[in-house]
Amino acid sequence: METFLGLDYNVWWFLVFGGVISGYAILDGFDLGAGALHLLLKKEQSRRIAMNAIGPVWDGNEVWLVIGGGALFAGFPVAYAAIFSAFYVPFMIFMMGLIFRAVAIEFRSKEPMLWWRKTWDVVYNIACIVIALSLGLMLGNVAYGIPLNADKEFAGNWMSFFHPFPIMVAITTLALFLMHGAIYLTMRTENRLYTKMHLLANNFTVFFVLSFVITTLYTLLYIPHLSDQFKQSPGLFLLPVLMILAIANIPRQIKKGMYRYAFLSSAITIALLLIMVAVEIFPYLLYASNNIDNSITIHNAAASAKTMKILLIIALIGTPLVAMYTAFVFWTFKGKVKLDDMSY
């Protein structure tokens, strides 16, 4: 096993993959959250502003999903093959959600008719909710485990996806994105819309905290393989403590009007959540709920050491570049949204 700085390549790639997925959840999370509350905004002008708040960045944010897909395919092809063929139907629905979100954003502003815009508003809102829920459902199932046969292929049927735990994760994901998106919009809006977003941000924070607490309690009580890491090494409890601090900081910053810090806190919350999931499932990528020996791990699913090395080099060159121009784009469009003739 080849290593770099004391960790083997597979662990490094697991970290890279986790980083990309966290990046996706943080970045597209606020787009999806903003979309999932779209219909709560009543005025045409408010809806336009909300859509243009994510307008220049949502596409770049979705790239993280593409990179994540490539990262999984390249680094852990066995996991890529097993996960997407197992989640065939939910994944197709997730994809449809992505298509409809993209075209709703693209098409909505192209016609002035009221019925046209209202139709796309509904499509957009539903698409974002569907994306958040299906993403959460799949993440929940990956963590909870699905039945796998000895060839590391899915051995259940679609009913096996609907355990209480994945459903709870799905709802928590939606709540998390709603909170994150509402805070983002608060940061980017003014006047009455801003007041409304402020209120929504608070409410969604409560929604998220409730669903998160319920899911966590359920995990601790009923799913030993997702809590034994924490029970064994108490030092890890630092993570949930940090997360509670981050969550607690959100309403505090909102109250003070420091939306950037509130947004940062909710971004940190998302990252910590995913880190906790990663700690719990490591070294598994897909846990076999029927027979632990059939599980897919970062070692039995991995590409060759040579490919791992190439991938790490690609990531080392690519990541700073992506970070640089992402920062440049966000910096260009910072501040409150102003509609102009190029807006949606």
Binding site: D59, V66, A81
Partner: protein, 459 residues
């Protein structure tokens, strides 16, 4: 129908639909760079208006390209799990490189390209346009590399046996520069430039015929005509190189392209024709011995025929492959003829007087589209029954856990959604074209006056 047929139909359908858009993005990207460059150099407003107009069309095309493109990345996993395991080591790294080097660059700067006109300086905007164009070119590199590796595998070795066998990289650069990637990449790039150039030609020909926006339409038409002429001619060279490569690396595919069954028979080249798959005869208009001439420079050198390959190692749908290949070639020749004739008319100062020629250009937007699609069908069908040439059969590459019903469900869903997308796309494209490259202030005034007559819009 079984899972294999359904999965192949779904993949072909989703990728063919997707491939309407990326070539247009690449080609329009090139023209945007040229137009905006002209604007910066001359400072003339017509170039600014043209650039801003095509950016809006670019945004529409790019949006659908992304939405349909993400599907492709995951379809390998959903429908072709065994394939994914087999090639993940190689194909996956090309895909990961595409995401991080190309797609991120393109999508990142796209925001500035579309929304940044009033936010950044004109030089920074021009830089963003170039970056978006480069991003799309880089995308093509990695995707074509991945596909070319399937056609002509190199830089790998096989590890494991039976169902656990898979290809692993031994030499990254040999994988990237496998025998067909450079030829095929140039072929794909030029095909994409043609798509963009002919779209610009078509729209501007329409304006000229309608006597609208003439001060913008005429110079834009000329710019696009230069690009289109150069690219049509270059494509002849690139296409020829590709065919040479196919003859060398994938002889069964080459034989299928011309319906050539018998090695000992004279190797003809057909202009058009029909292959009878049963009697192994081809009827049609041909150049006797033309295939030998094309490949070896004489009329009699034998070319390996389909019968020289075992029945389960050569493609079956010979007539279909023959037809798509010849459709591609015909479109290519039509583009050369059309652009050369237009250039000649230009030299005689009669370019914009010949009405029928302009009408031909209005519809010529379909030529590169058809050629691109037909060419890819020829390339992919000609590779059958292999998914990775000589290594892995398509029938062995499926997801074993996915059922026919699931694929049928997703195929029906894709069909409905994509048809809807296509209708909306054409509708909006048409609207934008009808709207034309006028600055939005003019348009806003028009809208204002229509609002006054429309009580709903006053809310």
């Amino acid at each position: 129908m079984d899972v294999e047929v359904l999965s192949r139909i779904q993949f072909a359908f989703t990728v063919a639909f997707h491939y309407i858009y990326p070539p247009l993005s690449i080609g329009l990207g090139l023209l945007l760079v040229i137009m905006e460059g002209m604007y910066l150099k001359t400072g003339r407003k017509i170039y600014e208006d043209a650039t801003r107009f095509w950016i809006k069309i670019f945004a529409l095309i790019f949006g659908i390209g992304v939405a349909t493109g993400i599907i492709m990345e995951f379809e390998f996993g959903t429908n072709w799990a065994t394939y994914s395991k087999y090639v993940g080591d190689i194909f996956g790294s090309a895909l990961a490189a595409e995401g991080i080097f190309a797609f991120a660059l393109e999508s990142g700067f796209l925001g500035i390209l579309i929304f940044g006109w009033n936010r950044v300086s004109s030089k920074v905007h021009f830089f963003s346009t170039i970056m978006v164009f480069f991003g799309s070119l880089f995308s093509a590199i990695w995707i074509v590399v991945a596909n070319s590796w399937q056609q002509t595998p190199a830089g790998y070795h096989i590890v494991g046996e039976g169902m656990n066998a898979r290809a692993e990289i031994t030499d990254f650069w040999a994988m990237v520069f496998n025998p067909s990637s450079v030829d095929r990449l140039t072929h794909v790039w030029i095909g994409a430039f043609l798509s963009g150039a002919f779209l610009v030609l078509s729209v501007n020909a329409y304006y000229i015929l309608r006597k609208r926006h003439l001060e913008i339409a005429r110079p834009s038409f000329k710019l696009a005509l230069i690009v289109a002429t150069a690219c049509s001619l270059l494509q002849l060279v690139a296409g020829h190189h590709s065919a040479d490569g196919v003859a060398k690396n994938q002889p069964a595919k080459l034989a299928a392209l011309e319906g050539h069954y018998d090695t000992l028979a004279r190797a003809d080249m057909f202009l058009l024709g029909y292959v009878n798959n049963k009697t192994q005869e081809v009827r049609g208009l041909k150049i006797p011995g033309g295939l030998s001439l094309l490949l070896y420079g004489n009329f009699h050198e034998p070319v390996k025929g389909l019968n020289a390959f075992p029945a389960d190692e050569r493609p079956k749908q010979i007539n279909a492959i023959f037809q798509v290949y010849h459709i591609m070639v015909a479109c290519g020749i039509a583009m050369i003829a059309l652009t050369l004739f237009a250039v000649w008319q230009w030299r005689r100062n009669r370019l914009f007087e010949t009405k029928w020629l302009l009408w031909l250009f209005v519809f010529s937007v379909l030529l590169p589209q058809i050629a691109n699609q037909a060419g890819w069908f020829a390339a992919e069908m000609g590779r059958q029954p292999w998914v990775v040439y000589g290594l892995l059969k398509t029938s062995d590459a499926l997801s074993k856990t996915v059922t026919a019903n699931q694929v049928l469900f997703s195929l029906i869903m894709f069909t409905i959604v994509y048809l809807l997308l296509l209708v909306l796309f054409l509708y909006l494209l048409n609207r934008k074209i009808k709207h034309g490259p006028v600055s939005d202030h003019v348009q806003e005034e028009l809208e204002e006056s229509s609002k006054r007559n429309n009580p709903i819009m006053q809310q």
